[in-house]
């Protein structure tokens, strides 16, 4: 028995393997389906209609060559970059218009990975809140150095988060519960969202801590100069 949906998924997979992006594939798939409908109306059976439609679409290699000439828009490149940074290399499969065989990562895996990846950033943040920040602020006062604007803002943000940690966590948790419960589109974007948030949080924490350390060295230099 010929399964059209499965054949289309396979065809997409073949095209994707040749390097054709998801947005383009969505468009090509729409075209393919229209051609199949057209062929069916002429009295062909489904497998034959599918065969003609895919043949008419062209060889994968030739298509790939043509599309690489067309290039991608900056927006698409940014989206791909974000997807790569978020660790969702195959994120495009999660957002296509197929309702079957979307190869989604299971929920528990996403949550587990997220927890594992947020740990280092969270630990570093706690450590810097307890040890580095108070010391640095004290040093600044002694050395009569004002903190540069961006660092002061980041510290203020970090303080705000620390003071409202319980409320913030509750809000995040509530949002996630609501999304899992009500949003039917959420599973498609879960991994991408978590990946992106992890990337931003991790790099933000690392940047902040690096800035704090550099700041500490500079203030220290200032201190020894005073003496």
């Amino acid at each position: 028995m010929f399964d059209l949906e499965k054949s289309i998924v396979n065809w997409r997979e073949e095209m994707r393997a040749a390097g054709i992006g998801a947005a383009v594939l969505d468009e090509l798939e729409g075209h393919l389906r229209e051609e199949i409908e057209q062929q069916l109306q002429t009295g062909l059976n489904l497998p034959a209609a599918f065969g003609i439609a895919t043949r008419q679409m062209g060889q994968t290699a030739a298509l790939k060559a043509e599309f690489s000439k067309a290039g991608t828009t900056i927006f698409e490149q940014l989206k791909q970059l974000a997807g790569t940074l978020a660790g969702t290399h195959r994120y495009q499969l999660a957002a296509n218009m197929n309702t079957i065989a979307t190869k989604l990562e299971p929920r528990w895996a996403t949550y587990l990975k997220t927890a594992a990846f947020i740990m280092p950033a969270a630990c570093l943040w706690v450590l810097s809140c307890v040890f580095i920040l108070p010391k640095l602020q004290q040093l600044c006062v002694v050395a009569k150095v004002t903190m540069p604007g961006p660092i002061a803002t980041a510290i203020a943000l970090s303080d705000l988060l620390r003071q409202n940690l319980i409320a913030t966590s509750a809000m995040v948790l509530l949002t996630l519960i609501l999304l899992e419960w009500r949003a039917h589109w959420w599973p498609n974007y879960r991994r991408f969202v978590f990946g992106t948030v992890m990337f931003v949080l991790n790099s933000g924490t690392l940047l902040l801590i690096t800035a704090l350390l550099i700041m500490a060295v500079m203030v220290a230099a200032h201190l020894s100069g005073e003496k």
Partner: protein
């Protein structure tokens, strides 16, 4: 059978001319070109899309995702201001080639 170089060279002016009449999408563009050329300009379907995307990237046309009558996702293209200008230049150049050709043809029969 029209030579593939000519098919490739005529793709851009044909697409721009069709879109100058109004918004359209890949499948309809191919069907219309096929119908208007009496089946002689038969593009490989997949080849149209790279051309469309190239035109979009050059800012001659713009695209938006819409829905077909049956509710399926469909990408519609329409001409931008630069596209109208590009079409005008194409038309001038093709008319020029055409007038040279037909002028030479007439002389042969005089």
């Amino acid at each position: 059978m029209i030579r593939k170089e000519l098919v490739a060279a005529s793709a851009e002016p044909l697409i721009l001319s069709l879109l100058a009449k109004g918004e359209s999408y890949g499948y309809a563009i191919i069907q219309e070109v096929k119908a208007r050329s009496g089946g002689k300009l038969n593009w490989t379907d997949g080849m149209l899309y790279p051309v469309l995307h190239r035109l979009e990237r050059r800012g001659l046309i713009k695209a938006r995702w819409g829905e077909s009558e049956t509710g399926r996702k469909r990408k519609y293209y329409s001409l931008k201001k630069d596209g109208h200008q590009a079409l005008q230049i194409h038309n001038e150049q093709w008319s020029m080639v055409h007038s040279v050709l037909s002028g030479l043809q007439k002389e042969q029969y005089v």
